[in-house]
């Protein structure tokens, strides 16, 4: 097995709010290899967005704890200062496509300029060269080249998202984090964006971290799957295995709640509400909603249990005595 391009071990992120301490990332570990697409699935408030942004060191205010080890290309980036991280890692080793919002692009600066910006900052190109590259990139993501002189508000939501994707690609970083890249788009646009992402992966040999709450969508673009719940990864598995035989009760409930076109199955839903990251339940965080909850689940946190080649689950059901 070649070295992973991204290796995260025991990452923690806690931050303070008026009401208390939010444990957004509570001991997360995973690996990402070259040209691999890892889907991270979870509900809102599971910490997945915090994880995405933490990888780029985009931290909230009032950070209380941020430690663990994050190795990118062999280098421990947690040891770098902010300035070093800015210049060596951001957009050079890892970039992010944020949630599809109306607001990801600066409204008063032309698209071309914004696209060219990372090249000017990180690749030391001059403006003309960078703008040329920007136009190439626009073409690559399927936007007419003359839009380089347009402003963001002149584009539709889908086009804006393409621009943002182009922006994440333009410096050719090996890792791209996709934080719910299609959640604000209509279904048709979503499909075209997903196609674009797939072709990029094939073309450019990048690794994705694809964060979403939409399980069906994740199946389109995942080699491996990690399920996040209450700031932790509760199941990690390779895609084929996951979608057919999910191990963790939560994953099982998630998959059975997806309606299918051809089968006439009973739609199950998950009772209860998402756990509070301020005051997580004791023991296994999922136990209040778990149909298989046992006594030990209420008291002790389940360990990480290997259940096969490159897959593990954190659930007492799988603990051997």
């Amino acid at each position: 097995m070649p070295e992973p391009i991204l290796s995260v071990k025991e990452l923690y992120l806690y931050y303070k709010v008026r009401a208390g301490l939010v444990r957004a990332i509570d001991g997360v570990s995973f690996n990402l290899h070259n040209e691999e697409s890892l889907a991270i699935i979870g509900e809102s408030g599971s910490g997945k967005s915090s994880l995405a942004r933490a990888l780029l060191r985009l931290l909230p205010r009032n950070v209380h704890r941020f430690d663990g080890s994050v190795h990118i290309d062999g280098e421990d980036v947690m040891k770098l200062s902010d300035k070093e991280f800015d210049s060596k890692i951001k957009w050079k080793k890892i970039s992010i496509v944020p949630q599809a919002s109306m607001n990801a692009l600066n409204p008063v600066i032309k698209i071309g300029e914004q696209l060219a910006e990372p090249l000017i900052i990180h690749k030391n190109m001059d403006r003309k060269e960078a703008l040329d590259k920007a136009m190439e990139m626009l073409k690559f993501v399927g936007i007419p080249q003359e839009f380089v002189d347009r402003y963001p508000f002149e584009l539709s939501g889908g086009m804006r998202q393409r621009v943002v994707i182009a922006m994440a690609l333009i410096t050719q970083p090996p890792i791209i984090v996709l934080d719910e890249p299609t959640s604000a788009l209509d279904v048709l646009t979503q499909a075209s964006i997903m196609n674009l992402l797939k072709s990029i992966k094939n073309d450019r040999k990048v690794s994705y971290i694809f964060i979403t709450h939409d399980i069906a969508l994740s199946s389109e673009l995942s080699d491996n799957v990690a399920v996040m719940y209450a700031g932790r990864i509760v199941e990690y598995s390779y895609a084929d295995k996951f979608y057919k035989e999910p191990q963790h009760p939560y994953s099982q409930l998630l998959l059975s709640s997806v309606p299918t076109l051809r089968e006439n199955k009973d739609i199950k839903f998950i009772p209860g509400e998402p756990p509070s990251l301020l005051n997580p339940p004791p023991g296994c965080r999922f136990h209040p909603r778990c149909p298989f909850a046992m006594d030990v689940c209420r008291k002790k946190e389940p360990p990480t249990i290997n259940v096969g080649r490159n897959s593990y689950v954190r659930c007492w059901l799988y603990a051997e005595k």
């Binding site: 800015d86 944020p98 607001n103 692009l105 600066n106 008063v108 910006e117 080249q145 508000f153 943002v164």
Partner: protein
């Protein structure tokens, strides 16, 4: 690069749209100004009541003159009355009071709009002229000097501090400024009273009021220094009153804009903080900030009446007050007209500048 044909077509559309926009705004503003000035004319003349007061005073004045004039001694009553009538009528005609007010009000309106501000009823300028224009222009520089300095000082200090604070949200400095904001519930002139009490009455190191020492120094340098010395207390009073709240709103303003998604993305891209501040925070916020400054400047030239009164500052504010106290509508109307014009022009200019810098207006709502 980009095909020329498409560019020029794009440009032509933009220019046409801009042009239409400007004309529409200009017309609306003009009508608004006209109506506002007319209302002021009506109020300043109290719908003709001032005329009655003045007529009575003319009568009184004429009889007094006749009585005191030795040349008219010994004339019998009817002759005196006739003489008085003549003089009164002449005076009334001179002031144009013989025609009914409603007609005159429209004449006033036209005069005001063409900036033909006429002559005052009572007030005179220091140079002795009764021309309203001269009376006003003589006092305008004092207000502009003082209040432009005040507004610029407040603007830049609160902008820079607000920007700094938005970066250091929650820090001690931040909390200190926020806790000082109740200071702004009191107007500048109120602090002025106290400052005069402390620095002029008790410590005796700064003057009570006025713009320059009496007698004024001859040498220009000393004169300027004396003026500066007199500006200290008024500026200080406004600073204490408005610095905290202005900084607070600038800080809030910048905070709101700093949490925008595109700022987050810029940070993710590794854009250096200085550039983020310039391109991603300041540039989008510039239009509303500049508008605010321009409007503040204009309204400040009206001269805060009370502040000028308390500090005895010979500007437009105290002139307006004198005009009211002396029943002098032409001066009142003159001041308000000039102010209305300045305001209208500024608003129009700002609209144009906005349209030019904010691409959303320039290109019009395509795709929004």
């Amino acid at each position: 690069m980009v095909p020329n044909v498409m560019l020029s077509r794009h440009r032509y559309d933009t220019v046409k749209r801009l042009g239409k926009y400007i004309v529409m705004r200009g017309a609306t503003i003009l009508i608004t100004t006209i109506i506002a000035i007319y209302i002021v004319i009506l109020v300043a003349n109290m719908g003709g009541y001032v005329d009655e007061i003045i007529k009575t005073e003319i009568q009184f004045y004429v009889y007094e003159t006749i009585r005191n004039n030795p040349a008219y001694k010994g004339l019998n009553k009817s002759t005196i009355d006739r003489l008085a009538q003549e003089m009164i009528e002449r005076e009334i005609k001179r002031l144009g009071l013989d025609r009914p007010f409603i007609y005159r009000s429209f004449n006033y309106l036209v005069d005001a709009l063409t900036l033909n501000l006429g002559r005052s009823y009572r007030l005179t300028s220091a140079s002795g002229s009764r021309q309203v224009k001269i009376v006003i222009l003589e006092r305008l520089p004092a207000s502009i000097l003082l209040f432009t300095s005040i507004q610029l000082m407040l603007f830049f200090s609160s902008l820079l501090t607000g920007l700094y604070l938005s970066r250091k949200y929650g820090s001690k400095v931040d909390r200190i400024i926020v806790s000082l904001s109740p200071l702004s519930s009191m107007p500048g002139w109120f602090y002025g009273l106290f400052l005069i009490m402390i620095f002029a009455s008790w410590l005796r190191i700064l003057p009570y009021g006025g713009i320059v020492d009496a007698p004024p120094p001859e040498r220009p340098l000393l004169y300027a220094l004396s003026v500066l010395k007199h500006m200290i207390l008024p500026m200080l009073s406004w600073f204490i009153a408005y610095f905290a709240i202005n900084t607070y709103s600038m800080r809030t303003f910048f905070l709101m804009f700093s949490s925008e998604d595109y700022v987050e993305l810029a940070k993710a891209k590794g854009v250096p903080p200085r550039e983020i501040e310039r391109k991603y925070i300041l540039r989008p916020t510039l239009p509303p900030i500049v508008t605010q400054l321009a409007l503040l400047l204009i309204s400040s030239w009206m001269g805060a009446i009370i502040t000028e009164n308390i500090f005895n500052w010979p500007g437009i504010g105290s002139l307006m007050w004198e005009a009211i106290a002396n029943n002098d509508p032409p001066v009142m109307i003159g001041i308000v007209t000039i102010y209305a014009y300045l305001l209208a022009i500024t608003v129009l200019l700002l609209d144009i500048i906005y349209a030019l810098i904010d691409p959303r207006i320039k290109i019009g709502g395509a795709g929004t």
